[in-house]
């Protein structure tokens, strides 16, 4: 399919060249054309038909006399002559047809002739007619310089048009070949990627032209897709791996329940089975929630939210939990926080997860702070605790789905909380910040105050 495209581009260029040249040439013709050439043609024809009449009524003798009379009238433009069958001049004021030497042939013509009287050559319009005895009668008029120029111009313009079409075709083919080869590079890459080689990238010519720009964009897109694929692969792997232990526990409890003789003991074991099943469902729902958030599918449910109301509500919800855990939960909300656009459920869920984590890891008697403030035009909603924190080296692992940290933070949960928090931050066009609280962890949702653009944000 590529060759016809090249040809099409070539033909299009030729057509465009033709149209533009034709317009230009038409304009030149229109500006320079003068109907005197037509008038000369008319005169020549009239003159010839008058002599014809004389010849057919009076024969050669009358013709000679009429010619002599005409010449005697002294019109300087007038040309009349009789040639022998071999082209030798007999009478009249034209000696020879020139430029190129013209064979005698009847009909109207424009060309150069040599005058017999002055021996000068001149441009002329003339008509040749075969007489009965084999001789030729020429009647015509010499043309002025301007008329001659116009004849030349007309011829040149026609030629120019033909040349421009040819050049246009040539240029078109060259451009099409060039464009075609650049596009073919990308098509090749696409073919190879479709064939399964996802590592392929479009080569750059280094010229920084728009083709390179396009190639870079395509490469960025491919990078992003490769990253997502990798993430998906990791997720599938870890999901399959991490579901093994709850499913294993589930299975063990069912087995134990089946083997239990005592009814009360069986009930206890079956209640455990239910618990395990519920925790499996929770894991699956959270994974789904993360996926939905990453896919930006929830943005249509965005609504104006009051940050202060949001965190007050959560603080009120968690205050008794904190009390039971022996922690002090305090709220630090700046006054006059602006309304922002977001997903109430998902932001609340995220903060509730962060609070849950913080209360879990905070040491007895220490405080957990739920805060909301604006810095650099961005809303910062977060939770600060005095627990063991997360070392900078472990942060990437902490954000990963099913990412598990060794030692301190791996005691509970399926390792999805921070991954969800990060996904929700991205959904809002923001990010999740994990900062050392010296000691402890500050987990902050940093959200832009302007509503996120509807286009899917591309993260590197």
């Amino acid at each position: 399919m590529r060759l016809p495209t090249t040809l099409r581009v070539g033909l299009l260029a030729a057509l465009l060249a033709f149209l533009s040249s034709a317009a230009l040439i038409g304009f030149i013709h229109w500006r320079t054309y003068d109907d005197s050439v037509d008038a000369v043609h008319q005169q020549v024809v009239e003159q010839a038909s008058a002599l014809d009449d004389v010849y057919s009524s009076g024969g050669r003798r009358a013709l000679d006399k009429a010619m002599a009379d005409t010449l005697a009238a002294g019109d300087p433009q007038l040309l009349v002559a009789i040639f022998a069958a071999n082209g030798a001049p007999r009478i009249g004021n034209v000696g020879a047809l020139l430029n190129p030497p013209v064979k005698l042939r009847s009909g109207y013509r424009v060309g150069r002739v040599r005058r017999r009287d002055t021996a000068a050559t001149t441009g002329a319009a003339y008509l040749l007619r075969h007489l009965d005895d084999g001789e030729w009668l020429l009647t015509g008029r010499s043309l002025g310089e301007r008329l001659q120029f116009q004849r030349i111009l007309e011829g040149s313009l026609g030629l120019a048009l033909a040349i421009s079409v040819l050049l246009g075709l040539l240029c078109g083919l060259i451009i099409a070949r060039y464009v075609g080869s650049r596009v073919a590079d990308m098509a090749d890459v696409a073919d190879r990627i479709a064939g399964g080689d996802l590592a392929q990238r479009v080569p750059l010519s280094g010229s920084r032209d728009s083709f390179d720009g396009l190639a870079q964009q395509i490469n960025r897109m491919l990078d992003r897709m490769a990253a997502l694929m990798e993430e998906l692969r990791l997720l599938t792997d870890s999901l399959a791996h991490d579901l093994r232990s709850p499913v294993g526990r589930l299975r063990a409890r069912v087995e134990a329940a089946l083997a239990a003789e005592d009814e009360k003991r069986r009930d206890v074991l079956l209640a455990g089975v239910l618990q395990e099943a519920d925790s499996l469902m929770r894991i699956l729902t959270t994974v789904l929630e993360i996926g939905r958030s990453e896919a930006m599918a929830s943005r249509k449910q965005f609504a104006p939210l009051d940050p202060e109301g949001l965190i007050d509500e959560l603080a009120e919800m968690y205050e008794p939990i904190a009390e039971e855990a022996g922690c002090a939960l305090t709220v630090e909300a700046e006054s006059g926080l602006p309304i922002f656009t977001g997903h109430r459920q998902l932001v609340a869920q995220t903060l509730s997860n962060l609070l849950d984590n913080a209360l879990h890891y905070a040491r007895q008697g220490r405080e957990v702070v739920l805060f909301a403030r604006v810095r650099d035009g961005r809303l910062r909603l977060g939770v600060a605790d005095r627990g063991p924190g997360i070392a900078p080296a472990d942060q990437a692992e902490a954000r990963r789905r099913f990412g598990r940290l060794d030692s301190s933070r791996s005691t509970g949960g399926a390792g999805l909380g921070l991954a969800l928090a990060e996904a929700v931050a991205h959904l809002h066009g923001g990010e999740l910040e994990l900062v050392d609280n010296a000691p402890g962890l500050r987990a902050v949702l940093v959200l832009p105050l302007a509503p996120p653009s509807p286009t899917v944000a591309v993260r590197a």
Binding site: Q301, H343, D356
Partner: protein, 228 residues
């Protein structure tokens, strides 16, 4: 008292489980497996509740719901769906359903929600000026709560929790129902948040009284009733 329930569900196993379970609770259940039949039956208006699977063949569940509401059928609708994300649940609720339950669910959860919806459909249009549960007395307008004539001081959220429990007097109310109805949160907060709030409320209601009034129903939820 048995009520008429229309079940629109294409999964045979779920359907027979629900028909049997709700039948044992004394409700009459009519089951259709196709969306178009479901819409046709729902619009005849003789049902007290419609249980609708979100993905039934013939007509999409949410489409069916919209068509039903457009035909001015105001029967309460409970949506059942495997679409579990918060966004899906909000979308389901915003499309005109009265409740949304994610599959798989426990029968206890479904039953509690069915009973709550049926109670709401009983036609209590005028708000109660006073709700009485045994010796507990609630005045919704002034939000004053008394037990045996003694005023009990409640925080706003505790009051809403109590009012919801009281409006479902004698019926089991699940933790997720409380979370959705009292807090309007459609996610799982993970810890025993609801339990802690309920036990605080219970302390305030029962301190200094002999008879318990806020009961825990094991494996299901809570029940506010004068008698156990």
């Amino acid at each position: 008292m048995g009520r008429k329930i229309l079940l629109i569900e294409d999964d045979k196993e779920t359907a027979s489980y629900l028909v049997r379970g709700l039948g044992e609770e004394g409700h009459g259940v009519e089951h259709v497996a196709d969306g178009r039949d479901g819409l046709f039956r729902a619009t005849d208006g003789s049902f007290d509740l419609v249980i609708l699977d979100r993905m039934v063949p013939g007509l999409d569940g949410l489409g069916l719901l919209k068509a039903m509401r457009a035909a001015k059928v105001e029967t309460p609708v409970l949506i059942l769906s495997a679409l579990a994300s918060v966004t899906d649940r909000i979308e389901g609720l915003e499309s005109g359903s009265d409740d949304y339950l994610v599959k798989p669910f426990s029968f206890g959860e479904l039953l509690a929600r069915v009973n709550a919806l049926l109670r709401r459909g009983e036609g209590k249009s005028a708000p109660d000026l006073r709700i009485l549960v045994g010796d507990l007395e609630i005045e919704p307008l002034s939000r004053v709560v008394k037990r045996a004539g003694k005023v009990i001081d409640l925080k706003p959220r505790e009051y809403r929790l109590l009012e919801y429990l009281a409006r479902n007097e004698g019926r089991v109310v699940t933790r997720t129902m409380l979370l959705e109805q009292v807090w309007d949160y459609h996610f799982d907060p993970g810890t025993n948040v609801i339990d802690v709030h309920v036990s605080r409320l219970r302390r305030k209601l029962e301190e200094g009284f002999e008879r318990p009034i806020l009961h825990t129903v094991r494996g299901a939820g809570y029940r506010l009733a004068a008698t156990a």
